[in-house]
Amino acid sequence: MLTSKNNNTINNNEKPALNAIQIRGLHKSYGSIEVLKGIDLNAKKGDIIAIIGGSGSGKSTLLRCINLLETPSAGDVRIGGETIKMKQTSQGPVPADKHQVRRLRASLAMVFQNFNLWQHMSVLENLIAAPTLVHGMPKVAAIDLAKQLLTRVGLSDKQDSYPAFLSGGQQQRVAIARALAVQPDVMLFDEPTSALDPELVGEVLKVIEDLAREGRTMLLVTHEMKFAREVANHVVFLHQGLIEEQGPPEAIFDNPHSERLKQFIRTVQ
């Protein structure tokens, strides 16, 4: 523990925030069921990491442990070089410092499978909520930024609509704009196209692809293998709560080693 802290300070001095996200020995159990069994994962700045794996392998849980929507049972999560402080209670570990959690969450942005837009807010209100409330951005500036982002995702005419009146693909593009509005260091995507009708998948993938080209740091859980291969520079294959195999996309998809990954790739193709 001590040595890792020391390393951290040294690293910080030399190359600040090179590691966007560092996960060490991450475990997560629900009751007696262990869902994550010790995950180590590094995301450097600018990395685009695709997380693939079968249903129930723990992909969502891994992503949700990073922004503490789930509390890890053991292990370290480090965001921008800063370890999330945990403390032990009778119910197991919980985050020790609420303010730290809020601050670190503010540097991340999540795009959910079911969009999770705030239904009582217009598209524009959805986009300015976090910037004004959490990041202290003046409302005028937030509206400006929101309009730019809506143009970017091709929805400039929808700013006053409510989410329920948009198609799934449009809602997800709004959700991506909402994520961009907080100018995040890292974007987390949890199966952003899985809830969409097939004909709407393309428009959302295209927006994500553009973001990838900009050199944003992204962790992307996806079932779109072709897409993962095209945009990711690193692919992680999760199986039953462990990283079974990882590497560059060509290695993972063209030359898989583990039997399970071979089988997984066969079933999705």
């Binding site: 929507l69 503010a106 959910f112 009582h120 909520a129 959490v134 329920a164």
Partner: protein
């Protein structure tokens, strides 16, 4: 011809100035509305805090609230009103005595608002708690994930998002509040029902006055319904229209 004159005479009893009793009835209606609005607002405030306490509070808070909502909803309202009104004023006077002060005359309006508010609070607590639980979980999760604090998320997401689920129940409670005020007649508060009884008793025109009171209550309900459906439509602005 005879019936027409007698009908005309009885309608004169509803005139606004004496010897007509219309003014008294309207004054009673005003008091009724004052108590209903006051009690309902107090009930809403209690309900908001109660719901949050039940959902986010510690064990002690949750147990106390469970006690409160169960008891209030189990005991007939008339008994609660008598109990709270007499026991409440008694308690306050005892407290005054302890502190070496003189007994106070408790204002009927304040007492009425408190009593109705206390009863309404228990029902509102349950309505609002249910409504908060009906919010799709993902919206609260998104608020968390984007770093909103508990209070920001409550104010900006939880409360506005629960409204469409709460409004039908809360609207019901408002209509009940307007009618529960009639129970305060038993403790001598001169709201619409008591004024009506007095007018009817003095003139022996029972039918006329009770019908008039009925019409007034009906008007309150009709106007309320108009307002409620507006508020409901507004709260459902984010819901796609059903085909």
């Amino acid at each position: 011809m005879d019936t027409v004159t007698s009908l005309f005479e009885s309608l004169q009893l509803l005139a606004l100035s004496p010897p007509g009793w219309g003014g008294n009835l309207l004054r009673g209606l005003l008091h009724t509305l004052e108590i209903a609005i006051g009690g309902y607002s107090l009930g809403l405030a209690i309900g908001l805090m109660g719901a949050c306490g039940k959902l986010y509070g510690g064990v002690v808070v949750r147990d106390c609230l469970a006690c409160y909502t169960t008891m209030v909803r189990a005991v007939p309202e008339l008994i609660l009103i008598l109990l709270l009104y007499y026991a409440g004023t008694d308690l306050i006077n005892q407290l005054m005595f302890w502190m070496g002060r003189d007994a106070v005359d408790i204002d009927g309006l304040i007492a009425g608002i408190f009593v109705i508010g206390f009863v309404q609070g228990a029902y509102s607590t349950e309505v609002i708690r249910g409504a908060i639980q009906a919010i799709p979980q993902g919206q609260l999760e998104a608020a968390k994930a984007y770093g909103l604090s508990f209070w920001q998320s409550l104010r900006k997401v939880t409360l506005p998002a629960m409204l469409p689920y709460a409004i039908p129940g809360l609207a019901n409670l408002w209509l009940i509040a307007t009618k529960d005020t009639a129970l305060l007649a038993v403790v001598g508060f001169s709201e619409l029902t008591l004024e009506t009884r007095q007018a009817a008793g003095s003139t022996k025109h029972y039918m006329l006055f009770y019908c008039a009171a009925g019409v007034l209550y009906l008007m309150v309900t009709l106007i309320s319904n108009r307002l409620i459906s507006r508020i409901e439509n507004w709260s459902r602005r984010g819901f796609a229209k059903e085909q």
